[in-house]
C-alpha cells in the first residue's frame, strides 16, 4: 500500500462504508471510488484489457484509463465504470475486472510475457486480422474462445436492470459545457441577460481545475469565489445546473446530448437540449508521457495526483517523484512537499526550466534533474522506484542510468484541449505548436470555445474569453450579458512545453493504457503500411473504448508522424464522433422498454377473447387471438377443429386490424381508378370490389376490398400490415401528384370493429342475429353491401369471403362492437358457432389460395399471382407504365402454386426451397420457395402456397421442399393454389 488519508481536502465529515471485491472499506462523503480506494491503500485495482497487466488509479477525472471497475451487483452492475467518476455511496459494492482469481495475483498475466516470446506477439497490432488468416477450423475451436476468455473488461450483467432511466427534452438560449472557472464565468455573465442558461459538468463538484488547488488559507479567497459562483448559478431561476452530467455529443440543429447520473429511483436522465448558442468550456486534460512500464499502478497524471491530495485529502504515496516536459507538473511536487510529503525528484526532460521553478525546488529541498527522463517505472506490481537517465540533446538516446526511489510517480506530457464537442459541429481541429496539442479550428455556427478547451490555460485569460463569448452569444440573441466579479487570483497558463513524445526505453511503453496499445504497436502499424491516422486507429484499436483518444491520441499521432518523417499537423487527427464519453444504453431506451417498447393495439373485443380463453399473438402492432383452445388441446388440435367447424357449420373471427379508409369527394371514383389496377368508377352504390394496387415500378403493393357507400363515398380496406403506409401513400397522391382532384381521405380504422362470419350456416346465423336485414342471396348477393342498425349501433355488412366459404364481414361502431359480436354468438348457438383465431384464418385462406403479406412480399408481379387479367386496359393506373417490363413478365418467373405433401401427414416448412432433386446440395438449382403452410382438414393433407419457376405450367409435377437448416426434405406435388371451392360455388351460394 502507498496511498493514505492526508488532510481534509474538500470532503465532508460523514463516513461511508463500501466494499471492494467484498472487502469492507471506509470512505468519506465526497470521495470517488478512486480516491477512496487510494485512501485505503489499494494500489492494484484491476487488470488490463489484453495483457492482464496490473492497473491502478491514473488520474482523478474523466481521462481515467487504469481504474476501471464494476459498480454494483446483479442487475444494477455497471461494468467498466471509471473509478474517478463514481461517487461513493453508502454500502456501494465495487468489483475489480478482468482478473482471476484476484487483481494482485492474476493467472492470465502470462499474456504479457507471451508477447515478448512469441514471434509477432500474440496480441500486438492487427492481431485480430492476422488471427483470421490462420486455419479457419482452429479459429472456432481454439483461438476465438481462448482470446475471448483472455481479453476483455467488465462483464455485462445477465439479469435485467431494475432501475429506471428517463429522457428529458428541453430548450435553452445559451448552453455552457463545462463548469470550471471559464464555464462558471460564462454562465454567470449570460444568466444576467435573463436568457435561459444550462450549465453541464460531468463532475459532482463544479470548479474544474480550481479543485486541483490546495484548499488552504492562501487560496481561501479563490475558494470563496468558486463557492459564490456556484451558489449564484444554483439560485438563479433562469439557470439549470446539471452536475454529474456528461455532455457527450452535439448534433444537427445545435442539439446537445447528455447523460445525467442521479441517485434515487431514476438512475440516469438522458437530456436532449436544444440550444441557440453553445459555449464550450470543457477544459483540457493532461497527457501521459510514454516511457517503460508507464502503466504500472502508482504512475499517475500529475494533475490527478494533485487533486487527490488537495480535493480528496488523499496522498497518493509516501514518496513522490515527478516526471515532466512542461511547467504545470511542478505545482504537484510543490503541493506535496508543502503538505509534508517527501518528494524525491523532479525529472524534467527540458534543459532549462524557468528560474522560479528551479528556486521552488531548491527552497523545498527537492532534487531537480534537468535534461533527464524516466526510462522505466520499477516494482513488482506497483511503483517502488524509477530508473532515470540523461537524455541526449537530439532526444534519441539516453545515458547514465540510475535509480531514484519513490512509491508514486506523477507525470505530465502537456495538456490536450477537449476539442471533441467543438469538432462534432465543424471542421477538424488544428495543431498548435505552442502548446503541442490540437485546438479548435474553425468554429461551428453558434459555438464559442473558451478557456483551456481553446488552449488557454491561464485563469484570468480563460475567464476573459468566457465573458467575451457570453457577451457575443447574448448579443446575437438580442440581450446583454452582465458583468461578474473576477476571480481574486490568477494562474499563469504558459506551460513552456518542449514535446517529448516517447522515451528511448525498455519495457512496455503504453500509448493507449486502456486498450493496451504500445508505442511499439504504432511503429509496427507504420511498418505494415497502416500509416494514415484512421488506419492506425483501426489496426491497433488505439483510442477506442472509454478513452476515446483523450490521453492517447496526440502521443500516438506524434509517434506515427515521427515514423513518417512528417509534422503532427500533417498527420492530423482521426475524426471525432459522438459519444465522446461512455454512456449507458439505458438512457437511450428511457422508459420505452419491455412492454413499453412499442404500443400494443387491442381490438374492441379483447375482453371477450380473454374470457373465451384465447391465446394471443402479436400481429403488427395488434394483439390478436391466435386460437381458442379447449381443455387439453394443442395449437394444432385447436386450429384444425376451428377450421373444420367453419367449413361444416359457422365461425366468427375478429378482423378489426384491417386498415379502413374513407374516400370522399366528387372525384373519389376517378382517384380509385388511378390507384387501383381495376375499375372502380363502374362500381355500383351498395357493392364491393376486390382491388389491387401497384407501386410505380409495377410490383404489387397492397390489396383489399373497397365498397361504394354513395356516388361520392367509398370505404377501403387494406391489409393489416399496410394500413399505415397505404394511408400515407393516398395522402401523398392527393397532395403532391393530383392536387386538382376533389377528394379527401381519412383513416377510420379505429372507428369500426370488424368481424368475419364464415361457413355454410353464416347466413342463418346473421338472419337470426339481425332480423331486420334481408340476407337472402337475391337481396344480398356476393359482393353486396348493406347498412344496418342494431340496438342503436351502426353497422356496415359486406358479403365478402376470405375463406372460400359463404361469409360476411360485419363492421360495427367500436363502442358497440362487442355487443354486436355477442349478438352474433348468441344467434349462432343453434349452429354451434365457434370463434376462430389467426391460425384458422390462415388455414382457410391457404386452402382457398388467397394471398397475403407472406406472398405479396414486395417482389411479386400481378402475373406471379395470376392477377394480370384484372388490370384494366381502358385506363391509366399507378404502375401501368412499368409492370410489363421484360423481366417482370418473363414466363420463367416464380409463380404462385399450391403444394401438397405426398405423404399427407408430413408438414412442409415455410421458407423451404423448392428443388427437383431430393438430395440437392447447397449449389443446387433453386426453383422457388414456400411462403405459407397449413394442415388442411378438408383435404386431410399438409398443404402450402409457394412460388415456383414457371409454376403455372407445372401442375402435377412432383418436386421437393428442402429445409436445409433442419435437414428436412419433403416430397410435394404441385397443384393449383385453389385447393377448396375453385369455382366459387360456396362463396356465391
Amino acid at each position: 500500500m502507498s496511498g493514505f488519508r492526508h488532510g481534509e481536502g474538500r470532503l465532508g465529515d460523514a463516513t461511508l462504508n463500501f466494499t471492494f471485491d467484498g472487502k469492507p472499506m471506509l470512505a468519506r462523503a465526497g470521495d470517488t471510488v478512486a480516491s477512496a480506494l487510494l485512501a485505503n491503500g489499494v494500489e492494484v485495482v484491476g487488470r488490463s484489457f489484453k495483457y492482464h497487466r496490473p492497473r491502478g488509479v491514473t488520474s482523478s477525472g474523466p481521462e481515467e484509463t487504469g481504474a476501471l471497475v464494476t459498480i454494483g451487483a446483479g442487475g444494477k452492475a455497471d461494468p467498466n465504470a471509471r473509478a474517478t467518476m463514481e461517487p461513493i455511496t453508502k454500502g456501494l459494492e465495487v468489483f475489480s475486472q478482468n482478473c482471476f482469481p484476484s487483481p494482485k495475483f492474476d493467472l492470465m498475466s502470462v499474456n504479457g510475457l507471451a508477447g515478448a516470446i512469441l514471434p509477432g506477439s500474440l496480441f500486438s497490432a492487427g492481431f485480430y486480422y492476422k488471427t483470421f488468416m490462420w486455419p479457419a477450423a482452429l479459429w472456432y475451436k481454439f483461438y476465438e474462445p481462448s482470446i475471448r476468455a483472455a481479453a476483455g473488461m467488465g462483464v455485462p450483467p445477465k439479469v435485467a436492470d431494475p432501475d429506471i432511466y428517463d429522457r428529458v427534452q428541453s430548450f435553452c438560449d445559451v448552453a455552457v459545457v463545462g463548469g470550471g472557472s471559464a464555464g462558471l464565468s460564462a454562465a454567470l455573465s449570460a444568466a444576467q441577460s435573463g436568457l435561459r442558461v444550462v450549465l453541464f459538468d460531468e463532475h459532482n463538484d463544479l470548479g474544474g481545475q480550481l479543485l486541483n488547488e490546495a484548499n488552504s488559507e492562501a487560496n481561501a479567497d479563490l475558494e470563496q469565489w468558486r463557492a459564490d459562483a456556484v451558489a449564484a448559478l444554483k439560485a438563479a431561476s433562469n439557470v439549470k445546473v446539471l452536475t454529474r452530467t456528461v455532455c457527450w455529443g452535439r448534433f444537427d440543429g445545435n442539439m446537445l446530448a447528455a447523460h445525467e447520473s442521479v441517485d434515487g429511483k431514476v438512475r440516469q436522465n438522458y437530456h436532449k437540449v436544444q440550444a441557440k448558442k453553445i459555449i464550450i468550456a470543457a477544459g483540457a486534460i493532461e497527457r501521459p508521457l510514454v516511457f517503460g512500464n508507464n502503466d504500472k499502478p502508482n504512475v499517475m497524471l500529475a494533475s490527478g495526483a494533485r487533486r487527490m491530495l488537495n480535493h480528496y485529502g488523499t496522498a497518493t504515496g509516501k514518496t513522490l517523484a515527478v516526471f515532466t516536459n512542461n511547467d504545470s507538473a511542478y505545482q504537484t511536487a510543490f503541493d506535496y512537499a508543502d503538505a509534508g510529503i517527501k518528494v524525491s525528484a523532479v525529472v524534467d526532460s527540458r534543459q532549462y526550466p524557468s528560474q522560479a521553478l528551479v528556486d521552488g525546488c531548491k527552497s523545498r529541498g527537492i532534487t531537480l534533474f534537468t535534461q533527464c527522463v524516466v526510462t522505466e517505472a520499477k516494482g513488482w506490481q506497483a511503483v517502488r522506484s524509477i530508473e532515470i537517465a540523461d537524455l541526449a540533446a537530439n532526444g534519441q538516446s539516453v545515458s547514465n542510468r540510475r535509480r531514484v526511489s519513490c512509491d508514486v510517480l506523477a507525470h505530465s506530457g502537456g495538456w490536450t484541449p477537449q476539442v471533441q464537442m467543438a469538432a462534432h459541429g465543424g471542421k477538424p481541429p488544428l495543431y498548435d505548436k505552442k502548446i503541442a496539442a490540437f485546438v479548435v479550428g474553425d468554429q461551428a455556427p453558434d459555438t464559442y470555445s473558451v478557456g483551456a478547451a481553446e488552449g488557454e490555460n491561464g485563469l484570468l485569460a480563460g475567464v476573459a474569453q468566457a465573458l467575451h463569448a457570453a457577451k457575443a452569444a447574448c448579443g446575437e440573441l438580442g440581450k446583454e450579458a452582465g458583468p461578474i466579479i473576477q476571480p481574486p487570483q490568477d494562474r499563469d497558463g504558459a506551460t513552456n512545453i518542449v514535446p517529448l513524445w516517447s522515451v528511448p526505453a525498455k519495457g512496455k511503453q503504453l500509448v493507449d493504457i486502456q486498450h493496451d496499445v504500445t508505442a511499439a504497436d504504432v511503429v509496427q502499424s507504420h511498418q505494415e503500411g497502416f500509416i494514415s491516422v484512421e488506419h492506425l486507429k483501426r489496426y491497433t484499436t488505439l483510442g477506442m473504448a472509454n478513452d476515446q483518444g483523450r490521453t492517447s491520441n496526440v502521443n500516438a499521432l506524434a509517434i506515427m508522424a515521427q515514423c513518417r518523417g512528417i509534422s503532427i499537423a500533417e498527420a492530423g487527427t482521426t475524426r471525432f464522433r459522438a459519444p465522446l464519453a461512455p454512456v449507458s444504453m439505458g438512457g437511450f431506451g428511457g422508459r420505452e422498454i419491455g412492454k413499453h417498447f412499442k404500443p400494443v393495439r387491442r381490438t374492441p373485443m379483447q375482453e371477450w377473447h380473454e374470457k373465451a380463453g384465447a391465446v394471443f399473438v402479436q400481429a403488427g402492432m395488434y394483439l390478436r387471438p391466435q386460437y381458442y383452445p379447449k381443455a387439453g388441446e394443442t395449437i394444432d388440435d385447436a386450429y384444425e377443429r376451428e377450421t373444420e367447424h367453419v367449413r361444416k357449420k359457422v365461425g366468427i373471427c375478429d378482423v378489426t386490424s384491417l386498415g379502413k379508409i374513407e374516400i370522399v369527394g366528387p372525384d373519389a371514383a376517378e382517384f380509385l381508378d388511378r390507384v387501383y389496377i381495376n375499375m372502380f368508377s363502374t362500381l355500383k352504390v351498395g357493392k364491393a370490389r376486390y382491388g389491387v394496387m401497384l407501386r410505380e415500378d409495377g410490383i404489387v403493393y397492397d390489396d383489399g376490398t373497397t365498397s361504394r357507400f354513395a356516388e361520392d363515398r367509398f370505404f377501403m380496406t387494406t391489409t393489416t400490415a399496410k394500413a399505415g403506409p397505404v394511408m400515407a401513400y393516398l395522402e401523398r397522391c392527393l397532395e403532391i401528384d393530383w392536387p386538382d382532384l376533389k377528394v379527401r381521405v381519412s383513416s377510420v380504422s379505429e372507428r369500426w370493429g370488424a368481424m368475419a362470419v364464415a361457413g355454410p350456416d353464416a347466413r342463418a346465423t346473421l338472419t337470426a342475429a339481425f332480423p331486420s336485414v334481408d340476407f337472402s342471396n337475391e337481396a344480398f348477393p356476393f359482393m353486396g353491401v348493406v347498412h344496418a342498425e342494431h340496438n342503436g349501433a351502426k353497422m356496415v355488412i359486406l358479403r365478402i369471403s376470405f375463406s372460400g366459404e359463404m361469409a360476411y364481414e360485419v363492421y360495427a361502431e367500436s363502442d358497440h362492437a362487442t355487443d354486436i359480436w355477442q349478438t352474433i354468438i348468441d344467434a349462432g348457438q343453434v349452429h354451434d358457432i365457434v370463434p376462430y383465431g389467426l391460425e384458422t384464418l390462415g388455414a382457410l385462406r391457404i386452402e382457398k389460395g388467397h394471398v397475403t403479406g407472406a406472398e405479396l412480399d414486395g417482389r411479386v408481379t400481378l402475373g406471379d399471382v395470376h392477377m394480370d387479367g384484372m388490370a384494366s386496359k381502358k385506363k391509366w393506373f399507378v404502375g401501368k407504365n412499368l409492370k410489363d417490363r421484360e423481366g417482370l413478365v418473363h414466363p420463367d418467373r416464380p409463380q404462385l402454386v399450391g403444394l401438397k405433401s405426398v405423404d399427407p401427414r408430413t408438414p412442409i416448412s415455410t421458407g423451404s426451397i423448392l428443388v427437383t432433386d431430393a438430395n440437392a446440395s447447397a449449389g443446387a438449382d433453386k426453383q422457388g420457395w414456400v411462403s405459407s403452410m397449413t394442415y388442411s382438414p378438408e383435404l386431410g393433407n399438409f398443404i402450402a402456397l409457394g412460388f415456383l419457376r414457371g409454376g403455372k405450367d407445372r401442375i402435377g409435377e412432383r418436386i421437393y421442399a428442402a429445409y436445409p437448416v433442419k435437414g428436412r426434405t419433403v416430397e410435394v406435388e404441385v397443384v393449383s393454389n385453389h385447393f377448396v371451392d375453385p369455382t366459387n360455388e360456396r362463396v356465391k351460394g
Binding site: D252, Q274, E696, A728, R732, W876, D884
Partner: protein, 90 residues
C-alpha cells in the same frame, strides 16, 4: 436533431416527420414511353448541398411538405407546401 418548420404546426423535431422522396423530379405523362418512366422511378441525383425533398408530417398534421435541406450540413433553409417553391419565397 433536425428541426422542421411545418407551415401548419410550427417548428417541430424531425422525429415527427418521415422522409418521403426527392421533390425535384417531374412525373412523366401517363402515356410517356417506358424508358422515361424507368428513368423517373430509378434514377436519382445525389447532390452534396442544397436539395429539395418531400417530407410527411406523419406524427403531426399529416401534411406533405416540400423541404429544402442541405445534404451536407442538414441545415433546412426553407419549408413550404408541395406546390410552392423556395425561389418564390426569396
Amino acid at each position: 436533431m433536425i428541426r422542421i418548420n411545418c407551415p401548419y404546426c410550427g417548428e417541430r423535431e424531425h422525429s415527427e416527420f418521415t422522409y418521403g422522396e426527392d421533390a425535384t423530379r417531374t412525373t412523366p405523362d401517363n402515356d410517356a414511353p417506358m424508358e422515361e418512366w424507368n428513368k423517373f422511378v430509378y434514377e436519382r441525383d445525389n447532390p452534396a448541398g442544397e436539395h429539395i425533398e418531400y417530407w410527411h408530417h406523419a406524427f403531426g398534421c399529416r401534411a406533405w411538405l416540400k423541404v429544402q435541406r442541405n445534404t451536407f450540413t442538414h441545415d433546412i433553409s426553407w419549408v413550404g407546401l408541395p406546390h410552392e417553391n423556395p425561389e418564390a419565397e426569396s
